[in-house]
Subunit: 511 residues, 2 copies
């Protein structure tokens, strides 16, 4: 796509800016205004919204790579469902991460407590997102996607991503054909994107699969949230989608992570049903069928012992968790690193054993999305990786990642050696060293808070998947690929969370 | 509906407030924030939106009255299409309003200039809204609707009204059944409301009816707007609705009233096609098929001679106007007063002559919606009305209205005598005196800028109609009733414009 997106005039920029922000505000492609735009005290009742940062044009994305991501998603769902069932493997991973990552260790302790008592709920729901970048190596071979990470908890932006695709489709019908260097509609290939409806249908499957209430109370779904969430409309679109597809409508309540114990309790008896009394309905009680977590993924949600008790309380309950602690731990970088480790005769591919029912071509399609990831432990591979990480030249091709979800925690390139020097060596094994993926150059324009940024961008593709399985019976009852996310950031910035103010929403035009 | 809406607890209030504001922000049931909420200079790029003021519950509205309004709308459409064709009658009305209302006189002068030259476009589009209140007289007879006014220009809120109905339907499925004094879903009768799609389809009819472009340029629709419009999303929903129902999509442009002559011109030749060059596309030209006016209805849009030239420029063009000047003048209070004047042998009903093709039962159904309206001229009826208006006691049952659209211009009850004393008597004929309609008491709660107001409310029902006719052939090619508006205000306030900060959006539950 030479000359894409086209250069546009200042007045075309102004026009697109206006059309996009108004479309976004009219369609809930919105967030609560960032503090830089509106101070929190200026909107104490949370009655304002602003357009999400978004690209002016869909970004070109290799069709073969997009299809590769779509094709492997159900295999990935199966892989992570299987890993979640392998407690022994996960225990080893936690041990290898070691005491240096207290958060993972504490999560594991919660699992062990519930295991001692015995789990009453064996069904587990995953709303996953596998993130990729396009990698084009110097050899001249075709572009391939390489996995950046696999999210097993709080995979976000599915509610806004289908809206973003709608926005770009709208613009392709109304605005792009009119600008001076017009983009004819039929030169764009905009894949369908039903991320909001797809993720909602995963929750619905789990809700049904939970079975009838046995406490005499109506069933409900809880969205476990962070207070003061700015990205609330992303979550709300899932809720509306879930409700509009069910009759009678499924009651959905938003429960702040810090209020778990205040508003829920476990029913007497062996069933351990999770009961919820909404704060606004003190005389009503609901039996919680599904807990969908949009919080609890990082240490910030666990400021004290009480927060950990809250998580324990949920984990031991009969509600279907999205995710369970085992599934959350399956999403650590350490697991990703072990899966991606090159196989040798002495170290046979471990993904094959988790995908015994999949064809070998599916397994190798999945494996082809791995990039090189190394441990920083004291194994042979780990010692080699340490040498790379501490080398001021070699380190430039790598990123150092902790076992942590959400943006803002990664250490890039030349910053790696001084960072590692500042960390006790005993903690190094909790990090992984990942080869940087070098995507082909793409240009686009980003509209952020009413202002345009233009230049080279880096696109990250996320493919959503939903999976419902039984930990005990080791069966998968639901496995779907459901829409995608394209997140784009300026190629000068190295962290890509849209809500964090760095990246923006985008959609693909396949090339 | 005794005990409706139910009394709710403080925490139920908080819950409904949160659910409603987030639903509104996620679905474009929004306006640009009022200055009291966000100073204009704090949002120079117009990238914020806030929820429109709305009732917590749909207001009870007599089913028989709602159906009465629906039933007469197409007859009203026909009536106003016919009046628009009766230039002689309208000339008399303008004369009777007299020089005291310069605005109407100036509008008429524009019509006369175009008439001299000869109109090239005989098709005329009306997007009408007939506004009513329920009247229940002391006699104990059933409730009836009485017309407050008939809007022939810039009938607003159709874009937000269907959204408001959706909101209340959503709440009736999710929230009302759960509150302590639950409202079961099946006790509410929420009529369907497709106001946005319906009004858009009226514009589409006119667009098609305009015929093929004869200048070689693509056709377009212009929304003629006021700059700095806060109620923009109301208009935007019509635009999206129009575009989503057409393939290829109809280009829609928003043109500020003050920029008519800057961006449009009339093609050379007898056809007088209106050509538009969007400011952001200086090399593109469109032939304007339809001008939909959301401005130009009051003197504020005509600050100088140039603005009047702009209106003249549009009026003489081949674009189908919504509305033409004749249709705009048909919507004056004076016309309403004359139509509503009681018939006597010496003053036969004039509506019959405009509705010759309608059944006599349709005509009397329409006439039954009239309330008593009197002129303030020097006729016998006018002299009687003057006596009432100046009487400190009798005036309490009346409202005094100028020939003006939009809220904020009416004089109520005891304020009438001192007001009239302040106006030169020669200007009195430009006012009409209207019996106040006394609606039955209704209670509801209004959510405005995140805060709740509770108490007695007054509801005003608007029924939308679309009509396309030929002024010359005197034929109607399209005549539909399309959705409704319920606007509600506290019974202590006397002006009901939602955007003006007094009233709010509502929907009906039929009782």
């Amino acid at each position: 796509m030479a000359d894409y997106p086209p250069e546009i005039t200042a007045s075309e920029e102004a026009r697109l800016t206006e059309v996009i922000k108004d479309w976004a505000l009219a369609h809930g492609l919105t967030v609560r205004p960032p503090p830089a735009l509106v101070a929190a005290e200026a909107d104490p009742r949370g009655i304002l919204a602003t357009a999400v940062p978004v690209t002016l044009f869909p970004s070109p994305f290799p069709k073969i790579c997009f299809e590769q991501g779509i094709a492997v998603q159900k295999v990935y769902n199966e892989l992570y469902a299987s890993i979640s069932q392998d407690e022994e493997f996960l225990a080893r991973m936690v041990k290898e991460i070691g005491d240096s990552d207290e958060f993972i260790t504490d999560l594991w302790k919660v699992h062990l407590r519930v295991k001692d008592e015995g789990y009453v709920q064996h069904k587990s729901l995953g709303l996953f997102r596998s993130d990729y970048m396009v990698h084009q190596d110097a050899s001249g071979s075709g572009p391939q996607i390489k996995q950046v990470e696999f999210n097993t908890i709080a995979s976000s932006f599915g509610g806004l991503s289908s809206q973003t695709s709608q926005l770009h489709i709208y613009l392709s019908l109304t605005e792009y054909p009119l600008i001076e260097r017009a983009i004819p509609r039929d030169t764009l290939t905009l894949p369908p994107n039903t991320s909001a409806a797809g993720l909602a249908s995963g929750i619905k499957e789990a809700f049904i699969s939970y079975g009838a209430s046995t406490t005499g109370h109506s069933k409900c779904v809880i969205f476990l949230i962070q207070e003061g969430e700015r990205n609330i409309f992303d979550q709300k679109h899932l809720e509306y989608s879930l409700q509009s597809s069910t009759n009678p409508i499924i009651p959905v309540f938003r429960l702040p992570f810090s209020q778990i114990e205040e508003h829920t309790y476990i029913a007497n008896g062996a069933g351990r049903q999770l009961l919820y009394t909404p704060p606004h309905l003190p005389t009503r009680t609901f039996e919680v069928a599904v807990i969908y977590m949009r919080s609890g993924y990082g240490p910030g949600d666990y400021p004290d012992a009480r927060a950990w008790e809250g998580r324990y309380h949920l984990e031991r309950s009969a509600a279907i968790k999205c995710p369970s602690i085992l599934t959350q731990i399956a999403g650590t970088k350490k697991v990703q690193q072990v899966l991606a480790s090159p196989t040798t005769p002495s170290n046979p591919s471990i993904i094959g054993q988790y995908l015994s029912s999949s064809s070998s071509s599916s397994v190798s399609a999945l494996a082809s999305t791995f990039t090189n990831i190394y441990p920083l432990d004291t194994s042979e591979a780990g010692m080699k990786a340490r040498a790379i990480a501490m080398d001021p030249e070699l380190c430039k091709g790598y990123v150092l990642k902790p076992q942590r979800e959400g943006g803002g925690n990664n250490i890039y390139r030349g910053a790696i050696p001084p960072f590692l020097e500042s960390v006790p060596e005993a903690h190094w094994p909790s990090y992984i060293l990942m080869e940087l993926i070098t995507p082909p150059p793409v240009r686009n324009m980003i509209l952020r808070n009413g202002e345009l940024e233009q230049g080279g961008v880096i696109c990250e593709l996320g493919i959503y998947g939903t999976c419902l399985w039984d930990q005990k019976a080791k069966t998968i009852s639901h496995n779907e690929q459901v829409g995608y996310l394209l997140r784009t950031k300026g190629d000068q910035s190295e962290e890509g969370g849209v809500a964090a103010g760095f990246g923006c929403m985008d959609s693909c035009t396949l090339v």
